[in-house]
């Protein structure tokens, strides 16, 4: 039996606070994706590297990031590092945790992307007089981003949804944090969580659609 009367008015009054929280969530998601992408490029190179140490480091990171729950990674960043005396605040822990996760997943996407680019591209670039770094940066990397663009979008949506884990490490400014505060204070669980779900949905849609638009502009031949 569902014995519950909805109180919509107080929930609507709380919407401005929830929107503020949504912005914080979006901010963390964007930052974590930028940091994650930067690290992932390095890790992808590591996965293709002949240097055992570099390969081992990258593989270890990717394995850990992809095969453990994101909740565990965020929790460990906060309480795990905390037990070693390294104190990141809740916001930073969440950012580090999600960036770590993003980097691991994206590294594998990037590696796939790099593998898809024929070796002849690099050779052609080199024969035009480019250095190894130049060839990678100007010829290979742009093509790789074209290939991995959709996985990247996917990861962005995933990152946004993962920000909801911040509540477990005491974050109370993001969308889930704000929602949970409102919930425990008033016990109007269903109204607030429904609104939060709708806001998450709209943000995720916004990301996907704007990425499509961006891809259409960027990747025309």
């Amino acid at each position: 039996m569902f014995n519950y009367t909805f109180h919509w008015r107080p929930a609507f009054n709380a919407l401005p606070r929830m929107f503020e929280g949504a912005l914080v969530s979006l901010q963390i998601a964007v930052l974590s994706l930028v940091i994650g992408t930067a690290i992932a490029v390095v890790l992808a190179l590591g996965r293709r590297s002949d240097n055992r140490l570099f390969y081992g480091f990258a593989t270890g990171w990717v394995e850990l990031a992809r095969n453990t729950p994101a909740l565990f990674q965020v929790y460990m960043t906060y309480f795990g590092l905390g037990s070693l005396g390294i104190h990141l605040d809740s916001y930073a822990s969440l950012l580090v945790g999600i960036s770590f996760n993003n980097a691991g997943y994206l590294a594998e996407s990037f590696r796939g992307g790099l593998n898809a680019i024929p070796e002849t591209q690099t050779r052609a670039a080199r024969s035009l007089g480019m250095g190894a770094t130049q060839a990678f940066r100007l010829v290979v990397l742009p093509q790789m981003f074209r290939i991995v663009f959709y996985p990247l979008t996917n990861q962005m949506v995933w990152a946004l949804l993962m920000t909801s884990l911040g509540v477990t490490v005491g974050l109370n400014t993001d969308l889930t944090g704000v929602t949970q505060e409102l919930n425990v204070r008033t016990f109007r669980t269903f109204e607030y969580f429904l609104f939060a779900a709708v806001i998450y949905y709209l943000m995720a849609k916004f990301i996907t659609l704007s990425a499509r638009l961006l891809a259409w502009r960027l990747f025309r031949y």
Binding site: F79, S83, G85, H87, V169, N183, R185, F187, T189
Partner: protein, 271 residues
Amino acid sequence: MMNFRTGLFAAVVSLAIAAPAYADKLDDIIASGKLRCAVTLDFPPMGSRDESNNPIGFDVDTCNDLAKILGVEAEIVETPFPDRVPALVSGRADVGVASTSDTLERAKTIGFSIPYFAFKMVVLTKEGSNIDSYESLKGRKVGSTAGTYEAIALEADVKKWNDSKGSFRSYQTQADVFLALSQGQIEATVVTNTVAQATVKSGRFKGFVVGGDSGYVTDFVSLIALRQEYGLLNYLNLFVHQQVRTGRYKELFDKWVGGDLPGLTVPGVYY
């Protein structure tokens, strides 16, 4: 025209269909032979688990008393603080025996019995933090369990002090708050005197000390049930009253908490 027998038959059938609608929660509990209590089990000495993982504590005993009087079996549904009301609303539990502070905000959603227990709030901190009173929390990193009475009061004060060095964090469980305090993520928390006592005494966390009284008004806590279940709420009121009257309240208090028995009334006003 309908003859008498058809009419009687129709009346009996409609009564049979309509009758269950009159059975309220209290009837359902008695009929099902089971009382499901939402109890928070990381809140010693009110609710916790013993070495063999069985639920124990003041709230657990209270639930057992209630079940015994109703003539049914008690079932403890472990429920973290933020999930107490969802547990009732979604029908996973019948009654919340989980030290729920009777705020007016919450009473818009859930029904409260008369208070069955009362807490004083104290500051819990670590040795060497130089925190010896509530006022010295100003400009410090503090935290508490999301949604609790003390969390709401503490957060409001942190906002009021408006000290850039100070911060407030809320965690999902009491255990996480203690973990954060023991690691230094936060420098102090405000908890009930009972929890503070139990935690300091247990010795599970090194260096925890009580850093003075919080100065909050007494936190009265009630049993909770669905707001519209007056039959059950009335029964709970009588149950709480009888617990005190028969001396069972004192008995349980001495068993789990000890010290001065907190009064459950406020002078000068009816409940």
